[in-house]
Amino acid sequence: MAKIKSLEELKKLREQAQNNVSLRVKGDNIEKMIQIRVAMATCGIAAGAREVMTEFIEEMDRQNIENAVVTQTGCMGYCYAEPTVEITIPGQEPVVYGNVDMDKVHEIIEKTIKNGELVDGIIPVTHKTIEE
């Protein structure tokens, strides 16, 4: 069966990426990056966490934003407010946003990721990041 896209194409993309200086800089500065962590437990998944994580990655790809990394975390205990996203700006305390929909993803990218501003929707409790 003929493949629609050939994995050979991916090889070319990889070569382009390896020639990209910003990628190497990114690897060296991982601790200076903004961390975006999407809660990916049963409660989060049922509420749309997969779509939220996908949108963060794809929108930052579209806009060529390179100062943030998207990853996931477990249930942080805010099941009533899923999907939840924890944003950590280097040197600052992590902040958790609740009920994150597609509009909120774009607002967080525009204001927090690009300009370091907080937006509405913070879960107002003393939050400590969880390690998993």
């Binding site: 069966m1 493949k3 629609i4 896209k5 994995l7 194409e9 991916l10 090889k11 993309l13 990889r14 382009q16 990426a17 390896q18 990628l23 990916m40 437990a41 049963t42 409660c43 998944i45 049922a46 997969r50 779509e51 994580m53 996908t54 990655i57 794809e58 930052m60 790809d61 060529n64 390179e66 990394v69 998207v70 990853t71 996931q72 477990g74 998993e132």
Partner: protein, 192 residues
């Protein structure tokens, strides 16, 4: 409740991640010829003890005794039974766990498979240290033979040579690659 079976796959595979698996296999079988839909998730994680395995489908005992499992398995078990199917879990402590979920393919209550490509991308990009293998098999009376698609995160890593899956352009390319191949598999290789 999960709107897509692909979300259940994501949820169950996250259990394997928390169970310290280094390899996770996901197999989707659409046996339309025999009106059967099956999904199987197996891992080489730490396994589940017999005591917990006995009560794993009960949301009340499991959430109290083992938070890591919680409602995910009871939800999927419920969906399987609603669709004249069943959920089966086999596990050996220290060796791993295998979950199989079966449903009637054309049962009115069976959720659609949904966006498997998105599920796989979330799993692979969040857990670069885990090897994922995905197999999708479709058989239909209109197919001359069953169609099959298989991909492993190792295949992609070999090509990417250290470049992360989340690199701009790479992520989108791989996602589209998965979407196209899954669609081709589901239509028997004739294309959409």
């Amino acid at each position: 409740m999960m709107k897509e079976l692909a979300l259940h796959v994501l949820d169950i595979a996250e259990n394997s991640v928390r169970g310290e698996a280094s390899h996770i296999g996901i197999t989707i079988t659409e046996d339309r010829r025999n009106n059967r839909f099956a999904m199987e998730i197996d891992d080489d994680g730490k396994g589940i003890s017999p005591e917990i395995l006995n009560t794993i489908k009960d949301p009340f005992t499991t959430t109290r005794t083992m938070r890591k499992v919680g409602l995910g398995i009871p939800f999927l078990d419920d969906t399987c039974r609603l669709c004249n199917g069943h959920l089966d879990l086999k596990s050996t402590v220290g060796l791993g766990t295998r979950l199989s979920a079966e449903m009637e393919y054309d049962h009115i209550d069976r959720p659609p498979l949904g966006d498997m490509a998105a599920t796989l991308m979330v799993l692979m990009s969040s857990h670069p240290d885990i090897a994922f293998t995905y197999r999708h098999i479709v058989d239909d009376v209109e197919f001359s033979e069953p169609s099959e698609f298989e991909i492993s995160s190792g295949d992609l890593e070999d090509i990417l040579d250290g470049v992360p899956l989340t690199t701009p352009k790479v992520y989108k390319w791989v996602k589209t690659y998965l979407e196209e191949n899954i669609r081709q598999c589901e239509t028997g290789g004739t294309g959409a």
